[in-house]
């Protein structure tokens, strides 16, 4: 775990209202695994840091992907190259690629693209064939960037690729890795209980101290998305006790 003063090196738009921010974070870039995240804070920013999955790594640079959803993300998107972020990470456990399967199926919904480029990287590094099912509400909400040996696009309104959800469009090809709204992950659990899923929670410290990011477990009790998670076996999580979708716009 490192606490770095990370310089922003660039920003690009990858879908309508969805942006990638790149920053220099050499120590994190060197060791981050797919599914791990960073907790970002900035001067005159909100009281709490904001957690983001690491999206891509390029040399000493890491990238995060975000949508313009509230005051915090708006401030982040108003920053320019050269501005600095306080970057804490890598945090949490990433996806586990210890499997005999020769193929990996990545399923993303909307902003759930966040951990997928690294998941594709790590799966390929293990010699796996990667299929990415890339879903969103509509064509303009779909992140333009993709990776893997095969890409299947899916939109709820049918404006691009297979009409319907990413989960419905997915073929079964081995190790399943999914990220998206919690209601999508609940659907993944019904089809592939052994899938590895990255859950979304409200979060505060990111380091296991505050117990704010509780994930309800089917066996009872809670653990911490930031420490034991954010990646779980789909069947472990009690989806009925997690908010199906998080609202981000409620902080003044």
């Amino acid at each position: 775990m490192f606490l770095l003063d990370a310089e922003i090196t660039g920003t690009r738009e990858v879908a309508s209202g969805m942006f990638v921010i790149a920053m220099r974070a050499p120590e994190i870039a060197a060791g981050v695994r797919a599914g791990q995240f960073v907790n970002l804070g900035w001067t005159r920013g909100p009281l709490l840091r904001r957690p983001f999955s690491v999206y891509r790594v390029d040399g000493e640079t890491i990238e995060v992907v975000l949508k313009d959803v509230g005051a915090g993300t708006r401030e982040l998107l108003a920053m320019s190259p050269g501005d600095r972020l306080s970057c804490l990470g890598p945090l949490g456990h990433g996806f586990d690629f210890e499997t005999s399967s020769r193929t990996a199926l990545l399923i993303s919904g909307g902003l759930g693209v966040a951990p997928m480029p690294l998941a594709a990287r790590d799966a390929k590094a293990r010699g796996m064939r990667v299929t990415w099912v890339h879903g969103a509400r509509s064509a303009e909400d779909l992140c333009r960037e993709s990776d893997g040996d095969e890409v299947i696009w899916a939109t709820d309104d049918g404006s691009r690729g297979v009409p319907g959800t990413a989960v419905a469009a997915a073929p079964f090809v081995g190790l399943v890795i999914a990220c998206g709204p919690n209601r999508m992950l609940a659907a993944v659990d019904e089809r592939w209980p052994d899938a590895h899923v990255a859950v979304e929670t409200y979060m505060c410290c990111g380091t296991g101290v505050c117990l704010g990011c509780a994930v309800p477990l089917k066996r009872g009790g809670y653990d911490r998305a930031c420490k034991e998670g954010p990646v779980y076996r789909a069947a472990e999580v009690d989806w009925s006790a997690l908010p199906s979708h998080l609202h981000y716009d409620s902080v003044a």
Partner: protein, 258 residues
């Protein structure tokens, strides 16, 4: 800048408050040499699951939390954390909780004498439990009863963490002092509520939560000052401290440590 606080000599006046530093083993980053002492996350005698999510909600300059005192219970604390504390160069106090005065006393007795545990902070101010917590903190007789129950079962320093949700904090402070407390901690979080306008219901599953952060600091300075004026024992100031100047406000207001 060593200070004497409620039966303990600390190398400095800056402490990690209960709940902000877990059991001290989670975060490798913090500059531990700066810490005078640590108060561990609150525990009960038995393990507790805590409240369902969402447990936190950010508010202007603050945060509401309703964790519900999730914790492993006394036996696991003794087994998993106290041995590490015994090797540290600053004292660790345990924040103790109960649903009855007798249970507070029983927990203190269970932890008394365990190497690594330097004292107790009695939590009579947690807003996020159905039984106990705040109930003991806003009635002077109940606060005194709990303090006595713990005092009788340990020779270690006993500090009492007060709630701001009272009409006169001086009354509670004096009741606790005369029941044997060595120091007071002022204050715990304020009870607050925030509504999700998309869902027409509270943003926290527990409905209410404890408000912390810079939003409460002026309120906390005032209440810590009132508590310090009411008693002879030292007061540890808590609430919305995020930089040195904030801490100094509490010290000037009459606190011995923060």
């Amino acid at each position: 800048m060593a200070v004497e606080v409620g039966g303990l000599r600390l190398r400095g006046p800056v402490l990690a408050a209960s709940g902000t530093f877990g059991y001290g083993t989670e975060v490798p980053l913090l500059e531990r040499r700066a810490l005078g002492a640590m108060v561990s996350k609150g525990i009960f005698l038995r393990a507790r699951e805590g409240t369902p999510p969402p447990r936190i909600a950010e508010t202007p300059s603050g945060m509401l939390n309703a964790i519900g005192l999730q914790g492993p219970g006394a036996d696991a604390l003794v087994r998993d954390y106290a041995p590490s504390w015994a090797g540290w160069d600053f004292p660790v106090l345990v924040n103790i909780n109960g649903e009855s005065a007798a249970e507070y006393g029983e927990l203190a007795a269970r932890l008394d004498g365990v190497p690594g545990i330097a004292g107790f902070e009695i939590n009579i101010s947690c807003p996020n439990v159905e039984q106990g917590g705040l109930y003991f903190g806003n009635d002077p007789r109940a606060a005194a009863t709990v303090t006595e129950a713990v005092r009788k079962r340990t020779r270690l320093p006993v500090w009492v963490k007060l709630t701001p949700m009272v009409s006169d904090i001086g009354v509670i402070a004096r009741a606790v002092e005369s029941s044997g407390a060595d120091a007071l901690c002022a204050i715990n979080t304020f009870v607050g509520m925030s509504i999700d306008l998309n869902a027409y219901r509270p943003r926290l599953s527990f409905r209410t939560g404890g408000l912390s952060g810079p939003a409460i600091r002026p309120l906390a300075v005032h209440l810590a000052h009132q508590a310090a004026r009411s008693v002879r024992i030292p007061v540890i100031g808590i609430g919305g401290i995020s930089r040195a100047e904030d801490a100094l406000e509490f010290l000037v207001a009459g606190c011995t440590a923060v």
